[in-house]
């Protein structure tokens, strides 16, 4: 007798993620045979707003593509426009942007660690990691005035400067956070109960990761050394860092890569503060953008592309964003095949899904 298949709908409203994603899990007993994702619950039609808001205002809309990686989205859009208009931001603006970018990465990765802990049922570890995330948010608030949406970036530089004494104050804070995450790392990477939930779960080989065009930590955890920061936008040319990879290829590897990237970000921030140049933060802009440009930057979740097509008018004709989660969804469908139903939450969280980026 052929075994009976049943379909378990997962989402859109479910306790794993705060965001709606819907997956139909085709199961045979406790094993998932196929996973069919359907997206579109958060689609707003944001890209079309470029035809309704002028190109300077659009920065604030671009930031709201996603509340977690908001600074990066604002930066990606601004970077494209600055290339079209041939504007070169001052060194201080470049350094502050890099610093804020890395703070965002820290807060995003710590957030992910918390959600991961929640997914494997370790509630107190979730609370512990989020305690340190609040410290990162405090730093972002001191620098920009906002906790999750900053609106500090604008075409030509920054809207306001971050004073040197505020930046100096970040150094002891960073040490605190790194120390705290080091303590949490013990639970994530060496606790036997946690290891049993992570090791070997959601394995993705190097070839698969490349063929499915994975992005970010997902790709690096499968042993591919690829990081768009090495392209050298903002001030990444002037700071030292090495691409972090892991050969594990499973959820454990992804956990390892993200934890190491938190330390790496803290290190890049320290370098930025040390080398911070003293000069203006804003270059005035003239006229309207005319031309097109495509830029790729490394968001916490992976490479994100921003395409802008402008025709010398106040309103831009077309903006297009391609986000890392979209690239990672095929890998999610792949890793879900053959897993236990109980592991589904972990596998969904492991790609660090950001649905509002994906659907915009």
């Amino acid at each position: 007798m052929a075994s009976k298949r049943s379909v378990i709908p997962f989402g859109p409203q479910h306790p794993v993620l705060p965001e709606p994603i819907h997956i139909d899990l085709v199961t045979e007993d406790e094993k998932v045979v196929e996973a069919i994702p359907s997206i579109g619950f958060v689609h707003r039609g944001l890209e079309h707003l470029v035809t309704k808001k002028d190109f300077g205002e659009m920065v604030y809309v671009a930031e709201r593509i996603c509340g977690i990686c908001s600074f990066g989205h604002g930066y990606g859009y601004v970077n494209a426009i600055e290339h079209i208009m041939d504007i070169h931001p001052t060194d201080r603006a470049r350094y502050v942007r890099t610093l804020l970018f890395e703070l965002s990465r820290m807060h995003s990765h710590i957030l992910w660690l918390g959600l991961m802990a929640d997914a494997f049922g370790f509630e107190s570890l979730f609370m512990e990691t989020w305690k340190y995330r609040e410290k990162v948010l405090d730093m972002l608030e001191a620098a920009t005035g906002g906790r999750v949406i900053f609106s500090i970036i604008r075409i030509g530089g920054l809207r306001k400067d971050v004073p040197d004494d505020v930046l100096k104050g970040f150094l002891p804070e960073l040490d605190n956070i790194v120390e705290g995450i080091k303590a949490c790392e013990k639970s994530f990477l060496s606790d036997p109960a946690v290891l049993s939930r992570l090791k070997g779960v959601g394995y993705l080989s190097k070839e698969d990761a490349i063929n499915l065009s994975c992005e970010g930590p997902m790709l690096r955890a499968s042993g591919v050394a690829h990081d768009n920061r090495t392209r050298g936008y903002a001030a990444y040319d002037d700071v030292d860092f090495e691409i972090i990879t892991s050969d594990e290829g499973d959820s454990y590897g992804r956990c390892y890569v993200r934890i190491q990237e938190i330390y790496q970000s803290a290190d890049i921030i320290r370098q930025c503060i040390e080398k911070m140049p003293q000069e203006g933060i804003y270059v005035p802009i003239k006229g309207f953008p005319n031309g097109e440009y495509m830029t790729i930057i490394e968001q916490p979740r992976g490479g994100a592309c921003y395409y802008v097509h402008a025709s010398g008018k106040k309103f831009i004709e077309r903006m297009r964003v391609r986000t890392p989660t979209f690239a990672n969804i095929p890998a999610l469908a792949k890793t879900l095949q053959g897993c236990d139903v109980a592991d589904v939450p972990i596998l969904v969280v492991t790609i660090d899904p950001c649905i509002s980026c994906t659907e915009r």
Binding site: V42, R64, G67
Partner: protein
């Protein structure tokens, strides 16, 4: 204020940018910690007392929002969290946004902000608690039953003018 019950929250992300959702989660995390009052973030609509909705309503999720609302037992309070849930916010002009949460279900408390701060969310929840108590009192006397989403849709449709005006009258009354 004395809290007589431990209300459970249900959070649904309409079409928010995540900013508000993360702040909703942050308000249950150690810094703000609403859990110390017994307020728990649940995933099951049938366990929930307060419906926290972030982001505007779009054509894909309007039925999901209605369904969640209808599944919740009485008395229930709806909290529109963030400016997008209040009236569409920055995404008002997007082709796929129908408007705030109140285009599909009745809203009791509006919490503005972009992104809404955890302090504001807690403030909103405290207001919601008061409304919840009032509704429970009325229910005991047999004077109150909340509208289903279908009845609400009819109510909006029967009033002249745009949805916004219709709702304004309701608020005044």
């Amino acid at each position: 204020m004395r809290i007589s019950k431990s209300p459970w929250l249900l959070h649904y992300d309409g079409s928010s940018c995540n900013g508000c959702d993360i702040e909703v989660l942050a308000s249950t995390a150690p810094r703000f910690d609403v859990e110390r009052f017994g307020i728990i973030n649940t995933g099951n609509p049938k366990h929930a007392d307060i419906f926290l909705c972030t982001g505007g309503v779009n054509s894909q999720n309007k039925d999901v929002v209605r369904q969640i609302y209808d599944q919740m037992p009485d008395p229930k309070v709806v909290l529109a969290c963030g400016i997008c849930a209040c009236d569409g916010g920055i995404f008002k002009d997007c082709y796929n946004i129908l408007g705030g949460t109140d285009t599909v279900i009745p809203v009791d408390v509006y919490v503005p902000g972009c992104a809404v701060r955890p302090e504001a969310i807690i403030d909103g929840v405290v207001k919601a608690l008061k409304i919840l108590d009032e509704k429970a009192e009325k229910m005991k006397r047999g004077e109150y039953r909340s509208l289903t989403s279908a009845e609400y849709a009819e109510k909006i449709a029967s009033k002249d003018g745009s949805d916004g005006e219709a709702l304004q009258e309701e608020k005044d009354a």
